[in-house]
Amino acid sequence: MTSDHAVDIDKHVRVYITVFVALMVLTIVTVTVSRFHLPVPVAVTVALIIATIKGSLVACYFMHLISEKKLIYAVLGLTAVFFLALLALPVVTVHDGYWIH
């Protein structure tokens, strides 16, 4: 192992520790916010924003997506399109405020 490579891994390890601390803080924030008993739409929005930030930190740094190859991004981009379409399905089943049976 070259000394440059060792320094590189040391930098990675420092980032992992920082991300770990950030994830812990955000977990505490999530639980604390839930104790305010906000209206459901606001609570859902806040919880999902925090969860998305936490998920992004895990994906970018622990899963190394921040410096991945184009092919992986292409696979994930396609997955994201189908995932969003899947989540949108409940919305398109509603017409004029009524469920389509």
């Binding site: 839930s34 895990v58 899963m63």
Partner: protein, 196 residues
Amino acid sequence: MDIPYTVEIRRDTGLINGKIGIWLFLASEVMLFGALFASYILIRTGAPSWPRGATMLNVPLATFNTIVLISSSVTMVMAWASLKRRRFGTFRIYMGATILLGGVFLVVKYFEYSAHFHEGAFPSTNNFLAVYFTLTGLHMLHVIGGMVVNAYFWGPGSKLWKTNPEWFTNRVEHSGLFWHFVDLVWIFLFPTLYLL
């Protein structure tokens, strides 16, 4: 015949085959959990009333489990970093800790489930519990699967380190990607089921 592109990078993809394989698998996993999340949205928005998770579930235990799973992600990535630093002994410590933390997560989940069953709360009781048991049950199966693979790399699978350390390091990275995905799913399950 040797398996091709386990260490050397394919010129056309710029990647080793294992990494493409695990990411394609994770893409299918996103769709699996996505389908369940979409079902959850459909059931919840269609229900005349829906309980807040905190009124039926144990938030302190789930918070503890969130911390456990996030910690296991850190030990997992540190296990991989240890191999990159050529420190096999440290790898085994971090990988052992990852497996142990996975075990702690399952034990806590066992106590949660036991308490629900003791109170007569089953998947058939209501839609909320049906969604809760389906999503957390499937997630638990993923934790068990990840632990089995990690235990293999901690134990018998680690023989590869002696003959082909680069390949072994790549294998650990791929099992780590799955483990982080399991953590990522829990990051979304925790607020949506327990807190909202």
